[in-house]
């Protein structure tokens, strides 16, 4: 089972961390949240019988972020003042810069819109799967994803391109 977990860890950890960064906008908190989820998973690994541990871990992470927000743990989470519009990606350095802008733009969204956009569009979950992970209705997901996407577009697109 340890080998199973190691294999799972190797593939899941980076994507979980990426998701955590997108949901929190805080790389340090994202690292902690990811580690916490992985520790919990490891401790339960032998008695865990799930078809898709990646999806299970993703749900755990979304809930962990939600709990952290409710308790004020993510108190540093606050909007950034300005977000630079996204341009054409030319190389890896520029890609990293675009990613930073995306994270900054996501931080400006209300939590529900951010969750909906990240899970629905960036993680490619269905509306129903997103609703399950967020603990809300499909209608709420649709509204939040729609509003969040529009907000991101306003932040990240050059005015002339809108």
């Amino acid at each position: 089972m340890d080998a199973d977990f190691d294999s799972f860890y190797a593939t899941a950890a980076p994507s979980l961390q990426r998701l955590a960064v997108a949901l929190t906008g805080d790389v340090h908190a994202a690292s902690d949240l990811t580690q916490d989820v992985l520790v919990k998973l490891l401790r339960a690994w032998d008695r865990l019988h799930v078809d898709n541990p990646h999806a299970y871990a993703r749900t755990m992470l979304v809930r962990q972020v939600a709990t952290s927000r409710r308790t004020g743990f993510l108190h540093r989470e606050r909007p950034t003042a300005e977000v630079t519009p996204i341009g054409v990606v030319a190389d890896f350095a520029e890609l990293a810069a675009e990613s930073d802008r995306l994270v900054a733009a996501l931080r400006k969204l209300p939590p529900r819109q951010r969750q909906a956009v990240v899970l629905r569009y960036l993680e490619d979950l269905s509306t129903e799967q997103t609703a399950e992970a967020m603990g809300c209705s499909s209608g709420t997901v649709k509204r939040a994803a729609h509003d969040g996407l529009n907000s991101l577009r306003n932040q990240l697109t050059e005015p002339a391109e809108r």
Partner: protein, 279 residues
């Protein structure tokens, strides 16, 4: 078709660009060996992993001590003193749904009235940005005076259990501040609450925790003197104003009602199967 249900070509193109940026987010792998060791060596979550601090508030433990059924109402307590950092969360997300009575029936395992009798520091989380800010996790002891409702699977709190609650913020040269989320009780000393709790020890529950957790932002209600809405919320004294509750929530409907009506409503509610997480 409603705009929320439409995805245009422009949307798809924009989303594709977002995905490129998303995939480019840099991550630093955690130390898997230390991860294994810390998880196996002790019941504590993480002792020292790659220099990262403990996940403080997300792992805060609340000790619950049961008291005889039908204990005396708790007298109202005064306002809580000291600096307060209130986090505005107009659209707070939920670990589990908690706004309606049916949410409680489906997701909670027990609903109790409890009073906070002690608090303790747990882990810390450094901001890591050079500011020197440190968030400190918090553990409180709850004394349960009444179990208002239980799913009946033997989960009623009769031992030390764990839920999350808000902690403190230390800033260099400043007095320690209490962290609070606007409209969410932080569970202050000597105050009483109605709490909808979920047992996350369940294998197959993606809460993934160990012990009890508050369902969400509308699952802890101030309840000093046995009256819903009176007591502490967001780190401040509240007096049962309907605006202090999540709009449209069951809490808002029950505002200023005696706790006995909550008990009656829960016991009169249609039983519902416990919603477990899809695996």
């Amino acid at each position: 078709m409603h705009p929320e249900n439409q995805t245009t070509d422009a949307d798809r193109e924009f989303i594709a660009g977002l995905k490129d940026s998303y995939r480019g987010i840099e991550v630093s792998p955690v130390d898997v060996d230390v991860l294994h060791a810390s998880a196996r060596r002790t019941d504590h979550r993480r002792v020292a992993v790659g220099g990262a601090a403990l996940l403080a508030a997300a792992a805060v433990t609340v000790a619950v001590v049961t008291m005889p059924w039908g204990g005396a109402p708790t007298p109202p307590s005064g306002p809580v003193a000291g600096p307060l950092v209130v986090q505005e969360q107009p659209a707070i997300s939920e670990a589990w749904p908690s706004r309606s009575r049916s949410d409680w029936m489906r997701y909670a395992d027990v609903v109790v009235v409890a009073k906070v009798t002690a608090e303790h520091e747990t882990g810390t989380y450094g901001a890591g940005d050079g500011s020197g800010e440190v968030a400190v996790g918090r553990e409180v002891d709850l004394e349960v005076s009444e179990v208002l409702w239980s799913r009946g699977l033997g989960e009623a709190p009769t031992e030390v259990v764990g839920v999350s609650t808000a902690g403190w913020l230390d800033r260099p040269g400043q007095e320690r501040a209490r962290i609070a989320v606007d409209g969410v009780p932080r569970l202050e000393l000597d105050h009483s609450y109605v709490l909808a709790l979920r047992d996350t020890d369940n294998c197959g529950d993606a809460g993934g925790g160990s012990g009890w957790e508050v369902l969400g932002s509308s699952a802890a209600w101030p309840a000093d003197s046995g009256t819903v809405g009176v007591g502490e919320s967001g780190g401040r004294q509240v007096d049962g104003d309907a605006d202090q509750a999540v709009p449209g929530s069951w809490e808002q409907q029950m505002m200023n009602r005696p706790v006995s009506e909550v008990r009656q409503a829960l016991r009169a509610a249609e039983p519902a199967d416990r919603v477990s997480d899809p695996c």
